[in-house]
Symmetry: C2
């Protein structure tokens, strides 16, 4: 069965969606991703959708679900690489990517996650994890 | 047409291959990747093949070609995420990934590229110009 790979890079996980998101693949991705978040203890997930020509309501819902699951597991989700045409269609369809942050590309997504982490640390959010204060160490 | 995204992360480009590599897609990837290397001036390319169930002679040749093109443009190529079954098949088929370095996962690939770069710097290879074609300085 086809599977979308989940890659660990520094303090975040990267998912590049390139195949059509059928039910089974989407469910498998949710499972794989949440397992990897728990296993690695990362605080950020970047989902790249450069390859997607269209984001319909199914894909939109899937992205929101992934963001919600990640959130419960203490990881922020950023969707990157959205094409202009996809953004236009999203708005025309009246779809909102609920609970999802977006950034232009992977690097800006990484910056956004690092900043979000710093702010959270500043606010004194409790974080038992051993790698609590290295949120900014990702970018160079 | 389907296209394999080329993502820039720090000082390297990441390509995650998930779709069947037909002629057109492979050619397009070669073009996109070489254009991005020139545009960004990176010195490393990581190709993730976690999603591939099989690497046949066509894919093997494509990877070698990409590595050779990158080399001429002064970028090292590392193939990561190869499944055990793929490695076994490769050897059984007698295919050698000519000119290609491999690493277990993206992070180890990044380390390998960083180390290779350091060694090259230590050897005193000139690197003032990002377009400098000093590909002849092969690291050990």
């Amino acid at each position: 069965m086809e599977r979308v790979p989940v890659l660990k890079i520094g303090d975040f996980l990267l998912v590049s969606i390139q195949v059509d998101m059928e039910d089974q693949i989407a469910l498998q991705l949710q499972e794989d991703l949440s397992a990897r978040i728990v296993e690695t203890g990362v605080h950020g997930v970047i989902i790249d959708i450069t390859a997607l020509d269209i984001v319909d309501s199914f894909v939109g819902r899937m992205l929101s679900t992934i963001a919600a699951i990640s959130k419960v597991l203490d990881a922020e989700t950023v969707v990157v690489g959205m094409r202009p045409a996809v953004a236009i269609t999203l708005v025309e369809l009246g779809l909102s990517l609920h609970g999802i942050r977006t950034a232009l590309n992977v690097e800006r997504g990484m910056e956004l996650l690092a900043r979000a982490r710093e702010e959270e640390d500043l606010l004194g959010v409790e974080d038992d994890d051993e790698d609590a204060q290295d949120g900014a160490a990702v970018t160079s």
